[in-house]
């Protein structure tokens, strides 16, 4: 299942929590998880989402002025992730 998941990164936890609330209220499964080391040296959390919904979720967040740093695929077992701009 892991290859079907993506993670949204945010500048701060404020936006991460706002995003989780918003995305869930739109009916998508979303969960705050610690950011994998290979994506950021930051100590915060990101929002795990279904990878196939990344465009829709990205749009929802943009419309609500939620600042994001990017959406990345979640690789199984900590394999290096590919950057998606």
């Amino acid at each position: 299942m892991d290859q079907c998941q993506g993670i949204v990164l945010f500048p701060s936890v404020h936006f991460a929590i706002k995003a989780e609330k918003l995305v869930r209220s739109e009916g998508f499964p979303a969960k705050l998880i610690p950011i994998p080391r290979h994506l950021s040296s930051d100590c915060g959390v990101g929002l795990r989402i279904p990878w196939k919904e990344k465009e829709t979720i990205g749009r929802i967040l943009a419309e609500a002025s939620v600042r994001i740093e990017g959406i990345y695929p979640l690789e199984p077992k900590g394999a290096p992730g590919k950057t998606l701009s």
């Binding site: 500048p11 701060s12 404020h14 705050l32 998880i33 959390v45």
Partner: protein, 390 residues
């Protein structure tokens, strides 16, 4: 015991506020925004919901513009030291608290120019004075929304409109009004709103903050503290986004959990309904005291022009004597003296002795107000020589 010092700190708190703080410390307890585990996220959610509640209350869409701090004084210091520079000119009123006057007087030594606009003996500012005293270098106007001494509500909509027209930042000290009066930041063109959690928002002491209005360019305010934010940890520079840019160090999680419950209480009861109840008590108090010979009342008599603060003096006893005897002999708790606002007492003519201030709130009853009136009437009947008591 009858507690009538709610203008200093509201007490007692709604039971839900205490329950939320106990729950936080027992079941959450973790550091918001620092770690990825479930308790950290739960703490983060509580902070987020508190920001959202405050943003909703004051009509702000983006709750990241709510910056938490210790209290209104802390928020005012951030706004004053974060924005003003040597050579700037500031307008303020003669009704300000020392939380405004002391930082300003300190900056004056470093080259800040200050104009203190005089208010009427009832504590009211003439908004026209803001226009008339604006200079090319006027950067900010700072106004106490309602006086902590006499409760006078200032005409903030007019002042805000003038500030916006003139391109001056409008900083509102809402220590007495956040939660007590229903108002939106945009309606009064408020750029910066300093609030405290421990008065009319029903939260605990140690909570408060500064809210940046939608029109306020966040680049115009610098942090006065830098430090850990849980974000951008790889960089040694402060993050450039809100709220982290202006908010460093572990937040008061337990306090903010209480503040969130206070906001919920406020929403449940309604700001207007609480005000109606409190002003009925304050008006009952005002009318009762006004019938006692030897009592002088201060501020506007019309309750629509005040928050629930009643200041008075007795002809025969000093304010400090009245406060002590109300406490010792009648179990009535109030505040006497200058209320950290010497300039306001000069304005209403009660410097340096000050006044006795009684400030009821939602949990007081008409019976308690009547007991306070009877107690003051009793003290007012005494001969002045009893004042010699040691």
């Amino acid at each position: 015991m009858i507690y009538l010092d709610n203008a200093a700190t509201s007490f007692p708190k709604p039971p839900a506020v205490i329950a939320a703080m106990v729950r936080f410390q027992k079941e959450v307890g973790a550091n918001a925004g620092r770690s990825g585990h479930r308790l950290s996220i739960e703490a983060g959610r509580i902070l987020f919901e508190t920001r959202e509640g405050l943003a909703r209350l004051f009509g702000i869409r983006d709750s990241s513009r709510v910056i938490f701090g210790m209290n209104a004084t802390d928020a005012l210091n951030l706004a004053i030291y974060g924005v003003l520079r040597a050579g700037d000119h500031v307008l303020t009123s003669s009704m300000e608290h020392n939380s405004v006057m002391r930082p300003l007087r300190n900056l004056e030594k470093a080259g800040l120019q200050i104009t203190v606009l005089p208010c009427s003996p009832e504590g009211l500012l003439d908004p026209g004075d803001v226009s008339r005293n604006t200079r090319v270098n006027t950067r900010m106007c700072i106004l106490n929304h309602a006086s902590n001494v006499v409760g006078t509500i200032q005409p903030i909509a007019e002042v805000g409109r003038i500030c916006r027209e003139k391109g001056i930042l409008f900083l509102l000290d809402a220590a007495q009004t956040a939660g007590a009066l229903s108002f939106q930041m945009a309606d009064a063109c408020i750029d910066l709103l300093a609030f405290t959690g421990h008065k009319a928002l029903w939260g605990p002491q140690g909570t408060g903050g500064l809210i940046l209005g939608a029109e306020m360019d966040e680049g115009r305010i610098s942090p006065i503290r830098q430090g850990g934010t849980g974000s951008r940890s790889e960089f040694e520079e402060q993050p450039d986004f809100l709220p982290d840019r202006l908010e460093s160090g572990t937040p008061n999680g337990i306090g903010l959990a209480g503040l969130l419950a206070g906001l919920n209480f406020l929403q449940e009861k309604g700001v207007e309904e609480i005000r109606r109840h409190e002003m009925a008590l304050a008006d009952r108090l005002w009318r009762g005291l006004s019938e006692i010979p030897g009592v002088t009342l201060y501020g506007p008599p019309n309750p629509a022009h005040r928050v629930a603060v009643v200041s008075f003096t007795l002809e025969n006893l000093s304010p400090s004597e009245v406060a002590l005897r109300l406490d010792e002999e009648f179990g009535i708790l109030c505040r006497s003296g200058l209320h950290c606002a010497p300039s306001a007492h000069r304005t209403i003519g009660t410097f340096p002795e000050g006044t006795v201030r009684l400030s009821p709130a939602y949990f007081n009853t008409p019976d308690e107000i009547d007991s306070a009136i009877q107690a003051v009437a009793h003290l007012a009947r005494e001969k002045p020589w009893t004042n010699a008591r040691v």
